[in-house]
């Protein structure tokens, strides 16, 4: 009698323990997942945090702890012609390259998604290729190409603004093609037929129906194309000419001589610019939906 009760008790305890350990392991799993996510986020944000912090240090040689805080490094930027000119050139190049990239990317994406032809996969890969070729390789190749072209045709392409922009278009195109293709593949083709049945010819259909429906993709493509062009350093190193320096190159050149927080201040401004672009874009098109 006594024995049977205790064994029943034991069974009950066992069951409870099994239940609670199952509950615990699920909770532990969730903590572990959140922990890893937090760690990854910290890994990404740490450099940004230190750069931003550093930009406000008072002393010229970055060292810890800071001797005090100051805004003088930010104040120094407008007086630095190299940064200002670099910024203006980078803007000019990135905007132009993005516009050209879109002009090439939208029709390319339309062909790739709408028309079946031989070599479509091949062409798709070709258009994405600049994304996987290292910037140094791309830069070297373009540099050699520019030199040879200039020798044979005596067109002054080496170190020209046109040559630089053409190179950046290469960097922008993969983003345009990739994002717009994705957006076209997800768009409903019957709405185009609906427009045509209502009396819209091909061009009107594209303008009034197709374009608005892929606008999120186009906005995302512009944003990513712009950012990748604006921040491009490796390829640009080969393509800039005398007196023509993009912002990333200006930063690199400055770093060769000085390591004061000016660089950090410039970086902070760059981060703010890109963050602002993202936030503004996100107001119109949810970036998380297209990437």
């Amino acid at each position: 009698m006594v024995q049977s009760t205790s064994s029943a008790d034991a069974a009950g305890h066992l069951g409870e323990r099994a239940k609670s350990s199952g509950f615990n392991s699920r909770r532990i799993g969730r903590y572990a997942l959140n922990g890893m996510a937090g760690l990854a986020l910290a890994y990404i944000l740490t450099p940004l945090f230190f750069v931003t912090w550093l930009a406000f240090f008072r002393q010229e040689i970055p060292s810890f702890p800071p001797e005090g805080y100051s805004l003088k490094w930010f104040a120094a930027i407008p007086g630095n012609d190299r940064f200002i000119n670099g910024f203006l050139l980078s803007m000019q190049v990135a905007v132009t390259a993005t516009l050209i990239g879109l002009a090439v990317g939208v029709p390319a994406a339309l062909c790739l998604t709408r028309i079946r032809f031989k070599g479509r996969e091949w062409l798709n890969s070709l258009l994405l290729l600049p994304l996987v070729v290292p910037g140094v390789v791309l830069g070297t190749a373009l540099y050699v190409f520019h030199v040879e072209t200039e020798i044979h045709t005596s067109i002054p392409i080496l170190g020209s603004l046109g040559g630089l922009i053409a190179g950046h278009v290469l960097v922008v195109i993969p983003w345009c093609v990739r994002l717009i293709t994705a957006s076209l593949a997800g768009s409903d083709r019957t709405i185009e037929e609906a427009a045509q049945s209502l009396g819209a010819d091909r061009w009107t259909t594209f303008r009034r129906v197709t374009l608005p429906s892929i606008l999120p993709g186009i906005v995302a493509a512009s944003l990513f194309g712009f950012v990748s062009s604006f921040g491009n350093l490796e390829m640009s190193l080969f393509l800039v000419g005398p007196g023509r320096t993009t912002l990333p190159i200006a930063i690199l050149q400055y770093l060769e001589w000085k390591i004061d927080p000016t660089i950090a201040a410039v970086s902070v401004l760059q981060i703010l610019l890109i963050a602002a672009a993202m936030l503004i874009t996100d107001r119109f098109v949810k970036i998380s939906r297209v990437v």
Binding site: D188, I191, A194, A195, Q196, S197, L198, G199
Partner: protein, 359 residues
């Protein structure tokens, strides 16, 4: 609103005939339904009329005008898609206004016409909404208003009800039919749902393998099916295989002698409508054909009961009986008697035996 004619229209993809020599003459104001199983060519036919598919051969006339090679935007056909295909970035009113804008209707005229079209489909109050804020049934009605507002020569409906739930579908059927009648619209609807087709059509076209099998009214198709396919597709039929031995005498492969309508001697199938066969627990009287049988299977359908009866020859017929109070409580293995008039059977010559036997 206009007369629509298709003359010997054919569409080939390589060796495959999607549409084979289809000729239709749809008078002004008629509601014609293209009915058939998937892949029978009905949707391709509709797309040829709309202008999205160019016919390999043949002529399409709309209101007497040859539109065979015209692109869709020059045809003046209102099209309602299965998934409605509303423009997601435009409001309901802007969706409906689209066709008028394309026709360069002056701005001040557009708003009242849009309002009128939305009122017709009872959505007058929802003009400012975006399509995604509407229910499926409401979206369907917007699509209809959009296709009607510019007074098309012909209204084309591509399985317009298949995305609605069963209850709503029944209501919308009637609504669409009343609307097209009121407006006197020539309408072509494609569907694979025969109940829908029978409810809505003035005339129906049964298609299979790209060809027109039969064109006619509901009664034509049901009472006088042109061939075995139509007999199996429109309504249900049980097919008995065998041969006509003499005019009015049919002998099944299993050896039963059955009285049937007159037909030429030779191999044939006899199609029987399940609801035209009588069933009793005792011997029947007054029928041309009276046979004993055994219940093989009973399926209870609510309003009706399907009884599968095995005849002495092992051949089976399906009998549909109304589910009346006090009716027989049949179970598998029960002995029953079935009977039907000679005129009930429809004869189809030739040993054309296919998978479409029972539907």
């Amino acid at each position: 609103m206009a007369r629509l004619q298709l003359q010997n229209v054919t569409k080939r993809y390589g060796d495959f005939h999607a549409v084979r020599d289809v000729t239709l003459d749809v008078p002004d104001g008629e509601f014609l339904v293209l009915l058939g199983p998937s892949g029978c060519g009905k949707t391709t036919t509709l797309r040829i009329i709309a202008g999205f598919v160019e016919a390999t051969a043949g002529v399409v006339l709309l209101g007497g005008r040859d539109v065979t090679t015209l692109p869709p935007w020059k045809r003046n056909a209102g099209l309602v898609f299965q998934n409605y295909a509303l423009f997601p970035h435009l409001s309901v009113a802007e969706n409906v206004a689209f066709g008028l804008e394309m026709r360069k209707v002056p701005k001040p005229e557009i708003a009242p016409r849009v309002a009128e079209a939305l009122r017709l489909v009872r959505l007058g109050h929802l003009g400012e909404r975006l399509p995604r804020q509407l229910s499926g049934g409401q979206q369907q009605r917007v699509a209809l208003a959009r296709a009607l507002v510019f007074k098309p020569d012909v209204l084309l409906l591509d399985e317009p009800l298949s995305n609605l739930d069963a209850k709503l579908r029944q209501e919308v059927r009637i609504e669409i039919r009343q609307l097209t009648r009121e407006l006197g619209l020539t309408t072509i609807m494609v569907t694979h749902d025969q109940e829908e087709a029978l409810t809505m059509a003035d005339r129906l076209v049964v298609m299979s393998d790209g060809s027109v099998r039969q064109l006619g009214t509901q009664q034509d198709l049901y009472e006088r099916p042109a061939d075995r396919f139509v007999a199996g597709f429109v309504g249900r039929s049980t097919f008995l295989e065998g041969a006509v031995e003499a005019s009015g005498k049919f002998r099944t492969d299993g050896g039963l002698d059955i009285k049937c309508p007159n037909g030429s001697v030779g191999p044939a199938s006899l199609a029987l409508r399940p609801e035209r066969i009588s069933l009793g627990t005792g011997p029947l009287q007054g029928f041309d054909n009276q046979l004993p049988g055994v219940v093989d299977f009973v399926s209870y359908l609510g309003a009706n009961i399907d009884v599968h009866v095995r005849l002495p020859s092992k051949e089976r017929v399906i009998v549909q009986i109304p589910n009346r109070e006090g009716g027989p409580d049949l179970r598998t293995g029960d002995s029953v008697h079935v009977g039907w008039a000679a005129s009930t059977g429809a004869l189809f010559a030739g040993a054309e035996r296919g998978a479409e036997a029972l539907r």
